[in-house]
Symmetry: C2
Subunit: 360 residues, 2 copies
């Protein structure tokens, strides 16, 4: 087979050794006589997979003991609702820092359940920068932000000072790409299909004191119910949890810790930004200090030339480089599963394309 380089924003390229291990184990996990896909979620073998997956996640992210880890379904979009449904007090309010499409959706969902104050917005700047020095009123139930914007390619490098107000962060496209100080957050959530595995699993990390019984909510939407049942109020997405375990094992084996992985990711993305900053053809419009390490949008000044480049790259085995439909241009998502060689190849292809254009 010729493996493509997949720059999709998610679902996205997995480490090859992870896919190979999954393939090798697919017919039989260990000596269980069955596929992980077939296992009862209450069997001792599967429960051991869950325990080991949570242990690895806790170890890599250094999750403090007063946080629970949940393996849920529904993606970040369901969390846009679950967060206000569980965290908004009666007549309370949330504060959101607006940085693009995903916070817009989060605001819309939040307002179905209560007041949502936009504390700061990057809209005037087309979201090309992250709002700084945000003042957080101390009467909020929580402050919400999207830590890495997958579409625009921005990333918080420092978190806002929230005082006593719990910080809730959508970390779907940056979790596990670098170390994070979990103790600064009240709640973190992330879809798995970018840096952690495959679609169909959502990881929630929530601080004990934010878990409140909400008997009026659908049981499946209550953090308290999910915590009480250790993510098994009903059948969890078993195979996706197993895949997360394989990805975590790969990180431990290849990098040992997230500091080393961060260093690798920084070197990967520097290749691309350095080239973009030197290119006469391609540009990235994000404020340098707010650039994402995971998602790098870029474009020429001509949409037709963009389309030509996308086709050119595709012919070279570089797929899913088309930018999000809301912004156009190109986007290279270079999550943990994208190796250095993939980014090197991308830069090489971009250079060659640029040289060919210069000759035309």
């Amino acid at each position: 087979m010729t493996r493509v380089l997949n720059f999709s924003a998610g679902p996205s390229q997995l480490p090859l050794t992870v896919v190979q291990k999954a393939a090798a184990q697919l017919l039989e996990y260990g000596t269980s006589g069955q596929s992980v896909m077939e296992m009862s979620h209450r069997s001792s073998t599967f429960l051991e997979i869950v325990r080991e997956t949570e242990r690895r996640l806790r170890s890599l992210l250094q999750i403090p003991q007063n946080y629970r880890v949940l393996f849920l379904q529904g993606g970040a979009s369901l969390q846009f609702s679950m967060v206000p449904m569980n965290l908004l007090k009666p007549k309370g309010k949330a504060g959101i820092i607006h940085t693009g499409t995903w916070t817009k959706k989060a605001i819309e969902e939040c307002r179905k359940f209560g007041e949502c104050v936009v504390l700061a917005s990057g809209e005037a700047d087309h979201f090309h920068s992250i709002p700084k020095d945000v003042i957080v009123p101390q009467d909020l139930d929580y402050v919400y932000l999207c830590e890495n914007n997958t579409i625009i390619g921005t990333k918080y490098k420092t978190l806002p000072e929230c005082g006593h107000v719990p910080l809730v962060a959508d970390c779907s496209s940056c979790i596990l790409s670098e170390p994070m100080d979990v103790s600064r957050y009240g709640l973190i959530f992330a879809g798995a299909q970018k840096n952690m595995g495959i679609a169909g699993l959502t990881v929630v990390i929530v601080r004990d004191d934010l878990i409140e019984e909400r008997p009026e909510l659908p049981s499946m939407m209550s953090y308290a119910v999910q915590v009480k049942h250790e993510s098994m109020f009903n059948t969890p997405p078993t195979f996706a949890i197993y895949m997360l375990g394989l990805v975590l094992e790969w990180i431990e084996t290849e990098f040992q810790d997230l500091k080393a992985l961060q260093s690798y990711n920084q070197r990967k993305v520097a290749l691309l930004y350095d080239y973009l900053d030197s290119s006469a053809l391609f540009k990235n419009e994000v404020k340098k200090e707010d650039r994402s390490m995971m998602n790098v949008p870029f474009m020429t000044d001509d949409p037709q030339l963009d389309a030509k480049f996308i086709a050119y790259a595709q012919a070279e085995g570089l797929v899913n480089l088309k930018g999000h439909r809301s912004v156009g241009g190109m986007r290279a998502s270079i999550y943990n599963g994208m190796p250095m060689e993939g980014v090197e190849k991308l830069v090489e292809v971009m250079k060659r394309f640029e040289e060919a254009q210069a000759i035309c």
Copy 2:
């Protein structure tokens, strides 16, 4: 490898050829250069997988044109809430036929959103039979039932006459086991991890006229939103959808249609019921006319002997025969993925155990 016979109630045994095909394609799907797990859900290759999966499902179940098919997450338990949230009118009411654990949960979730009338209950009979001749008041927003009770092992053989009231059915443990007249239902839902594939996918089949915009609901919980976005309001559980496609392809290849599959399933389960009815040791307590074709609980008169049998069977490679914790005893779930040889082996092991007990 020695493949166990897995009688789990779900996740459950898949047809071996389905697991083999998934394993063969896991590193590369077709000539795509990537695993299905890695594919963008908006890529043409994956969209073709979704279209083909829906086409096969529509063909096998003969779903009429005025029904939409949704590929969602959250399992039946999330549907327990989504159904009333979407189908209950303001100050309206639902009617439920109570047949055990799963309708109890559905009643509890429904009552968070409105009135829920229990039209009939099998409780006095320990749910060993399905209530018959239920009168359906015509002022209900919908009638709800669980068509096959996974825990007790009961199954509706005829549906209640609902008049103009839409019928909503939880078909998690019987869908695709036999033909069904979809036009008799307003809405059908089913978790995939029993007869259709793996955990993390929920199939909803809903009639057009029941799809109402409900802007007050979380977007992910609105059938109208999910229909409008063709199950891609956000990233769907891509790999689980692919697995459903493989199971549907297997049914088409092995049986052509659900009538032939039903006939096979009937012959499979008859082996087990015939033996149970002749056994002096084991018994099944369900009223004969209401017996399930998919889940067969059985027990001796002695819980210690039950435990001994479960261990004896396990040593023979027959796993997950323990009954649900709420009822004890044993349970053999024999979904589509369990071959005739598996049930033959089970009956053989039961006979041997019974003979050994008689000698003791």
